[in-house]
């Protein structure tokens, strides 16, 4: 059978690749991707430093959220859910890789995606706080965060489809489809837990109460975003508020949950995640994410 022959070849080629003197990196990718879009010129009239900073914002949101989701691997309540969260994390990691690579290219200091992911310190990260919060092994917390994060990121990426930066536009093009799955998944779990037993309802509500103070930051516009939105590269995140509110209200309503009335967190002296001001939790994420790269730079196996 032709297909059997091909099937054998697929696995054969894996062995062949490993058989070569081709070391695998112990962390990161170790491959210099020939990515058609990454090396596109910076759009006219755009400050490269702003574009690099913006790609870091979008990339760091995805990277850090992906890492928190990955913590559920081997800890999820059921196998299918573990696979779902891992797949979601993988999509976000893929988005992060392209965005960090673009940031490194535009910045022009020779830093690749691995250097940016593994060798920056906390204040150099530009993600919003929601991405870095710990779930404290509470599945409802993971769902509550994913609901807020994916609803917002979907609204953001949709508006970035027409970005003048080809990489941002390309990531948005792929990301909209992916985030649609993520949001649906989180929304269905919110419904199931909220409109479930008294215990699941109580815990889902408590999880929403815990993450809700970090929602407001998602709509705060940084200077970089303001300048790049005017240049047609970025979107002003404040513009996503109505859509995000409408979606969250619909999900919470159907799930018999209450929109938490809690004061927003931050900013601190006018600073938030976009300026490198983080909660204590980011350090914990980075300690795990970067430990191997920092202890064994360039390690392969």
């Amino acid at each position: 059978m032709n297909t059997d022959h091909d099937a054998t070849n697929a696995y054969q080629s894996l062995v062949e690749t490993l058989g070569h003197d081709d070391p695998r990196w112990a962390f990161g990718t170790g491959v210099e991707d020939v990515q058609a879009e990454i090396s596109s010129p910076v759009p006219d009239g755009v400050d490269p430093a702003d574009l690099a900073a913006y790609c870091l914002m979008l990339g760091d949101d995805a990277l850090i959220c992906s890492h928190r989701l990955t913590e559920w691997v081997t800890n999820a309540p059921e196998l299918e859910e573990e696979v779902a969260l891992a797949n979601t994390a993988l999509d976000l990691l893929g988005q992060a890789r392209v965005l960090l690579a673009r940031a490194g290219h535009v910045e022009g200091r020779g830093r690749d995606e691995d250097a940016l992911a593994y060798l920056r310190t906390e204040p150099e990260f530009r993600n919003i706080a929601l991405a870095e919060l710990p779930d404290e092994r509470d599945f409802a917390r993971a769902i509550a965060r994913l609901l807020l994060f994916s609803t917002w990121r979907l609204a953001l990426l949709q508006r970035l489809l027409g970005s003048r930066d080809p990489v941002v536009a390309a990531v948005a093009g792929k990301g909209v489809k992916e985030l649609t799955y993520h949001r649906d998944h989180a929304a269905r779990w919110t419904l199931r837990l909220g409109d479930g037993t008294p215990e699941s309802h109580r815990r889902m509500q408590a999880a929403l109460d815990a993450v809700w103070p970090y929602l407001e930051e998602l709509f705060r516009t940084s200077d970089v975003e303001r300048r790049l939105a005017a240049a047609g590269v970025a979107v002003d995140p404040a513009q996503t508020r109505d859509e995000v509110d409408a979606v969250l209200d619909e999900v919470l309503g159907r799930a018999t949950l209450t929109r938490p009335a809690v004061p927003p967190m931050g900013p601190i002296n006018g600073l938030g995640g976009r300026q490198g001001m983080h909660t204590e939790y980011l350090g914990h994420v980075l300690a795990e994410l970067q430990s191997l790269a920092r202890q064994h730079p360039g390690a392969t196996w």
Binding site: A10, V34, Q35, N87, V98, Q158, G173, D184
Partner: protein, 164 residues
Amino acid sequence: MVSDPRAVVAEVVDPEMPMLTLDDLGVIRGVDTDGERVTVTITPTYSGCPALEVMRDDLRARLAAAGYARVEVRTVLSPPWSTDWISEDGRRKLAEHGVAPPDRVGPRDAGPVPLTLSAPAAVVRCPRCGSPATEEFSRFGPTSCTALRRCTACREPFEHMKEH
């Protein structure tokens, strides 16, 4: 004797769905030859698809075996891949191997993406017995591109390549 690089590329199979060639899957965006140098352009199915690096290695190895030592594999993200790019032949092969092929989705409407709070109502036929009475039990299967379903007629679980 060096064979046509397009023919070599067309035969390389997807590492996660080895019943499909990369051509069937619709991820090959171009094969350009410049003397001895071959540039293959592919597009990922999902942003983080780990199969991409294996595809790249496979393409290089197969082309090298066919006599092309200078091979560059480029990836391009735009326009984004969609399951609509899977060929008719590919859809038939998926079904033959027990994976329900994706429906055609067409271009997405402009405006906000609507929430889908229950499993999609679209009919997915059981690839084993052909019954339309199937249900989704997990939106995410063993690979990013599949969902898990079961057939309520023959009771068999199966994978569905979800519309993307």
